[in-house]
């Protein structure tokens, strides 16, 4: 059976989610592997969301926001631009290939770009294979 990657996509409300919507309303075809979560701004992306996605079975995570200079909250995406590389380095140390976390800028008018980003990423993750985390169920029990 071929491996179908599970990808969680965090898309900012003002640009990338609208861009994904445009791809949909324009009836563009793209691979169905990305489960989209809408966030108000890419800068709202707490790295906890990414860790949680991986810990609950995602093979990869896509983060998409407005192009630099276009963030609805002026510079939220500049925070993302600094966070993601640090998060990728941290994940690499924890044995998760940094390629499994991708940051893209997609504007509200770039339906086609969303389509190609998704298709490309799904194929890339397919090559990487499933994440298959080694995670004891007891880990769910946090503390305090």
């Amino acid at each position: 059976m071929s491996f179908e990657p599970k990808i969680v996509g965090f898309l900012c409300n003002w640009c990338s989610y609208t861009g994904a919507d445009l791809a949909g309303t324009s009836r563009m075809k793209y691979l169905p592997n990305v489960r989209v979560v809408r966030i108000m701004c890419s800068g709202r992306l707490d790295p906890t969301f990414v860790m949680k996605a991986f810990s609950q079975g995602a093979d990869a995570v896509l983060v998409a926001g407005c192009h630099p200079g276009d963030c609805h909250y002026q510079n939220g995406n500049m925070k993302t631009l600094r966070r993601i590389p640090l998060l990728r380095r941290t994940l690499a140390q924890l044995g998760i290939e940094p390629e499994r976390l991708r940051l893209e800028w997609v504007s509200a008018s770039e339906g086609e770009r969303y389509q190609s980003v998704v298709n490309e990423f799904v194929e890339q993750v397919r090559k990487l294979g499933p994440l298959n985390l080694e995670l004891d169920p007891s880990v769910e029990r946090a503390a305090g």
């Binding site: 949680k52 966070r83 941290t90 044995g95």
Partner: protein, 323 residues
């Protein structure tokens, strides 16, 4: 029951012994403890045998302080035994709360740790490649050792824990507050973190904060930090933003940045992820290539973020996917 003394136990799992010392650091209050409590089991301080504990009826102990992480079969066995024999179980100190320094073992596994410890360190001479075994026959009989696990766990990942007392080690003043609460029966709901604040260490830290940004990380041992100014603003990683207050900012007072031993804030599931956000906001660049160059000056980010809490974190350990 009123005039009966509390029956208390203190045990060390995978720990350094500092927690046991911290309990003694309540100084003369230890005499007040003896007034209200009988210490039934405390291997570090007095002579007891595991079989004494095994012989107790269930819930015989009112309270067990368990310090240390769970990284071998003995730690696990005693944790389960004490849970069965105790009405209340408290994780005492960073190791049992979230893995602590032994939890850094989760960046590795038994094989790689054994290879380092018994073969590759410069001072080791082991031409026959002898490794510890769990059983060994000698003329006098069979010798046994506990089995070391690949993955370090927290106490709560091993048995249900009622209270968490953070710190490496817990601050003795906080320990005393907790003991008074136990003695007076005024404990918060089960599952609470006690002996700590609900605020971030940065909220209590008296250093000057001006929202400075930097273009280079600096390592503490290579610089002389200004003792008045926030470490982060000097480019030195300090975990105060993602760490519970309660320790009395003791590292900060010694001009050392916080390493996060009091653990994540309430409702923050992953201390490292929170710290990552705080650090990224101090980097002075909006150019992806420059950001990478600045990050090159921060070796081992995961080691900073999860200094005390890798087993408690969402990802728990380094994944051995290509092993």
């Amino acid at each position: 029951m009123a005039d009966e003394k509390l029956r208390v136990a203190m045990f060390w799992g995978a720990a350094c012994g500092g927690c046991d010392v911290a309990l003694l650091d309540i100084h003369e209050h230890i005499l007040d403890v003896i007034e209200v409590a009988d210490i039934i089991f405390w291997p570090c301080a007095m002579d007891f045998k595991f079989k004494d504990v095994e012989a107790m009826p269930d819930e015989h102990l009112d309270l067990t302080f368990y310090n240390g992480a769970i990284r071998n079969s003995e730690n696990e066995h005693i944790a389960k035994l004490l849970r069965q024999k105790s009405k209340l179980m408290a994780a005492f100190g960073s190791c049992s709360h979230m893995g602590g320094i032994p939890g850094l073992g989760n960046f590795h596994d038994r094989k790689s740790i054994f290879e380092t410890a018994y073969l590759n360190t410069k001072s080791t001479h082991n031409p026959d490649k002898v490794f510890p075994r769990t059983e060994f026959e000698v003329p006098e009989g069979k010798l046994t050792l506990p089995e070391i696990y690949d993955t370090v766990k927290t106490l709560n990942q091993t048995v249900p824990v009622d209270y968490f007392i953070p710190g490496c080690p817990p601050n003795p003043e906080q320990i005393w507050i907790v003991i008074q609460a136990v003695a007076s029966g005024k404990l918060p709901p089960k599952g609470s973190t006690v002996g700590a604040s609900d605020k971030a260490l940065c909220d209590e830290c008296p250093r000057k904060k001006t929202e400075l940004k930097f273009k280079q990380f600096k390592r503490r041992h290579l610089v002389h930090p200004d003792p008045e100014v926030c470490f982060m603003e000097q480019g030195i990683v300090c975990l105060g933003a993602a760490t519970r207050a309660g320790c009395g900012w003791r590292c900060i007072q010694s001009n050392m940045p916080c390493r996060g031993c009091y653990g994540p804030l309430p409702n923050a599931r992953d201390q490292g992820a929170k710290m990552l956000t705080a650090i990224a906001s101090h980097i002075d660049s909006e150019d992806p290539e420059e950001v990478e160059r600045i990050l090159d000056t921060l070796p081992d980010p995961a080691g900073y973020f999860y200094r005390f809490g890798l087993p408690l974190s969402l990802l728990h350990r380094r994944q051995r996917r290509n092993a």
